[in-house]
């Protein structure tokens, strides 16, 4: 080979714009590649899937404790997961890589990890997803958006798309989409992840293992029916397009690196030079028309992201900027266009939301201590089970970042450095100083850094090695998968006791909407319940969590008896009770005590009750002096 010089070669398998593709040819290739050693994993995965499906019928969600779903998974479920881990490690380290078989394993993994709640739970989980269906309902009834209602209506892109699909599909509500959303969104992510990883390494084993690790450590749970889930897909697609088709082939070392100061420290100079000069991937040949098309589509995707989500647009912007600064990609005008789009939307279309909040947001900017308090300290409380979950989540987050760092160092030592991956792990961190995002910013940063952090973490266990891999790698992949599969359930479904709903809870909410006059006050203790999915703007909602924590009953009565509202209802549900039990000291908020206390007032009576919910109506209201 002409290229077989002193320097080793790396082969990159990137998506080819001109290469033809036919499913028939793929199947033929697969049959040709068939090896007897692949029979064992296939048998294992078939048995594993059958065992998993049969074990799901034994899952009794109502018996869940504060550790979440992990507490009700039967032993057969764990056997199925172990079979999957063994099977995957065999397939990944087989003599020849069989991508179809690996993809098959990946799809089953996604089904097991992210499709489970759609099977074991009767009604869609997670309160915010119901609210999102309510925003779509508003748009379809009113054929407009009212930015004064709340933040959703200032970034309504996702809901408008949801509305269009709901109406064309002939459905009366978007609630039908809620149940299987996590499974479908996670499946969607596989495509851009595959493209990104392929653009970073020639090892197909590492490509797939990176995706595998991503699924095993993605505890964040932002894949429910939401703008964030959709926008995370857009985020990945923009990165994938840039890394596949807009790679920079020429690197100019910044003048500073060759300056007098750094010349005195040759080691540091060498490190910086290496960061810039490594990973010189020539872009895949594309015509000017195709590149223009891709650029236009990227701008369109970014525009859609700008209209749909406050945060993701900045994660995209920071990632693009960092890749440009380190000369990994070429389109220099892209961040400018992005900045203009974001600025214009915030200034004109989201001005109603920003008007009252801009000052507070500017004050919060740069307050790292406040951000850390909101994201870490304030979350470290609750029942012992909940504390275990919180600590495991934090441990998993820090563990993945640490593994990514070590993976990067290992690549550095081996000479297979991928600077882009490290840059993209670092890119979302500036978001932390922007604002607290309701105490969720650290979680979002983890989510945006995860695709590449998982890739680098996978490189720690599975770097580019001589082919075929030895049995040690099979064991390492199997063990890592088994451990992460165990931890996953705590992180991902640790709050499930308060995030799932029963049909009885939905019945109670439906009862309220059938009986409450528009304009009524609907009070709840917390907000984790399946409500607001209909007539979003027609009721006033209030949560009483703060009053109850402070024991301020006067304020509570004042709120419930506010004469501004013709009718007022207090909705108490099982999920809300689970929430207070998980987050607060025992007895701080006691639903039974609260109910008894309220019923002492002759103007308050129970109008609906079922095993999981109770509705109290407040009649003849007068303000408490």
């Amino acid at each position: 080979m002409a290229q077989a010089s002193a320097e080793p070669l790396r082969l990159r398998r990137l998506p080819q714009p001109g290469a033809s593709f036919h499913a028939l040819e793929l199947v033929k290739t697969w049959i040709k590649k068939w090896q007897p050693s692949q029979v064992l994993p296939i048998i294992l995965i078939i048995i594993g899937s059958a065992v998993w499906l049969s074990s799901l019928s034994q899952v009794k969600v109502e018996q869940m404790n504060d550790l979440g779903l992990v507490s009700v998974i039967p032993p057969t479920g764990w056997i199925a997961l172990a079979l999957l881990a063994v099977s995957f490690s065999l397939v990944l380290t087989a003599q020849k890589v069989n991508s179809v078989l690996i993809f098959f394993h990946m799809a089953i993994l996604v089904f097991m990890l992210y499709g489970i709640t759609a099977i074991v739970e009767t009604v869609p989980r997670f309160g915010p997803s119901w609210r999102h269906a309510g925003v779509i309902d508003y748009i379809l009834r009113n054929e407009n958006v009212n930015p004064r209602i709340d933040a959703y209506f200032n970034w309504p892109g996702f809901f408008i798309m949801g509305g269009l699909i709901t109406q064309i599909a002939g459905l009366d509500s978007a609630v039908y989409f809620l149940k299987w959303s996590p499974f479908f969104f996670q499946l969607l992510y596989m495509g851009p992840l595959w493209m990104i990883n392929n653009s970073l390494t020639s090892s197909r084993r590492l490509v797939w293992f990176g995706i595998w690790v991503f699924y095993l450590v993605n505890w964040v749970g932002q894949d429910y029916f939401s703008p964030q889930a959709m926008n995370f897909f857009y985020f990945l697609v923009i990165l994938a397009i840039l890394l596949c088709w807009f790679r920079s082939s020429e690197v100019t070392i910044p003048r500073l690196v060759n300056g007098k100061l750094l010349q005195k420290i040759p080691k540091i100079q060498g490190v910086i030079t290496r960061v810039f000069t490594s990973e010189k991937a020539p872009p895949v040949p594309t015509s000017l028309t195709q590149k223009t098309f891709f650029l236009l589509m990227m701008v369109m995707i970014y525009f859609v992201s700008v209209t749909s989500h406050q945060l993701t647009q900045f994660a995209i912007l920071f990632s693009v900027l960092l890749l440009l600064i380190f000369q990994r990609i070429t389109p220099k005008a892209l961040p400018i266009i992005m900045l203009v789009l974001s600025g214009m939307w915030i200034a004109y279309m989201a001005s109603a939301f920003m008007a009252g909040r801009l000052k507070g947001m500017l004050e919060a900017f740069g307050q790292l201590e406040t951000a850390l308090d909101a994201n870490l300290v304030n979350r470290m409380n609750g029942s012992p089970g909940h504390m275990v979950v919180t600590q495991l989540r934090l441990g998993l987050t820090l563990g993945v970042w640490l593994a990514a760092m070590l993976g990067f160092i290992r690549q550095w030592i081996r000479g297979t450095l991928e600077t882009s991956a490290a840059l993209l792990v670092a890119a979302p961190f500036p978001l932390l100083i922007m604002q607290t995002y309701g105490g969720e910013m650290l979680m979002r940063i983890y989510m945006f850094s995860l695709p590449l952090a998982a890739f680098l973490a996978a490189a720690l266990i599975f770097p580019i090695i001589k082919e075929p891999p030895s049995w040690r790698y099979t064991v390492a992949v199997g063990l890592a998968s088994a451990v992460l599969l165990g931890v996953f359930w705590f992180g991902r479904y640790g709050n499930e006791r308060m995030e799932y709903f029963t049909p009885a809870e939905v019945d109670a909410v439906e009862f309220i909407y059938q009986h409450a006059e528009p304009g009524s006050l609907i009070a709840t203790v917390t907000t984790n319940l399946p409500y607001k999915y209909i007539n979003y703007e027609k009721y006033k909602y209030v949560k009483l969590e703060k009053e109850l924590v402070l024991g301020d009953m006067v304020s509570l009565f004042t709120t419930l008896k506010n004469p501004k509202y013709d009718h007022a209802y207090l909705l108490l549900t099982r999920a809300q009770e689970a929430y207070v039990e998980m987050y607060y000291d025992p007895g701080l908020i006691d639903f039974e005590k609260l109910e008894n206390q309220l019923l002492l007032d002759p103007q308050i009576k129970v109008i609906y009750t079922n095993p999981d919910a109770k509705i109290l109506e407040i009649t003849n209201r007068e303000a408490i002096p």
Partner: protein, 142 residues
């Protein structure tokens, strides 16, 4: 008509795209009350407009093609929806007609267009950066 040069593979995707557009239009405008209607709608709206554009620009990609087609389709759906809503002309019928046009027009042209570029190399070869790890045997001999 010269059927010798007929390549059926070239017509698979255009056929799928045209049939999908017809199916979703019929289902929606005839108001079919079938559980298949949401599935056809999801398929059309999540894949077809983006795939039609990708193909007319000469992209024939496997996994990457599906990914991009879905991303482009959803972005186009959203943009069409936003344009209709903010212009005060919200109508799902208008939205569907626009999306059908975005799918059908490029698809009708696609089989007759020349590929935008010639065949591409299957694998791109790049040099690994300096400082590769030395083999153990070499390190020992030193």
């Amino acid at each position: 008509m010269n059927w010798k040069g007929w390549n059926w593979k070239r017509w698979v995707w255009p056929g799928v795209l045209i049939l999908s557009t017809l199916a979703v239009s019929l289902a929606a405008f005839q108001n079919w009350q079938s559980p298949l209607r949401p599935l056809i709608t999801l398929w059309f709206m999540a894949v077809c407009p983006g795939m039609a554009l990708l193909r007319v620009f000469g992209f024939r990609l496997a996994a990457a093609g599906w990914t991009l087609a879905i991303a482009f389709s959803l972005a186009i759906d959203t943009t069409v929806g936003i344009a209709l809503l903010y212009s005060g002309r919200w109508s799902w019928q208008a939205g569907l007609v626009i999306l059908a046009a975005i799918t059908i027009i490029p698809t009708l042209f696609e089989p007759f267009l020349k590929r935008i570029e010639g065949p591409q190399p299957l694998i791109v070869v790049t040099k690994v950066p300096a400082h590769p790890r030395k083999p153990r045997s070499a390190a020992k001999s030193e």
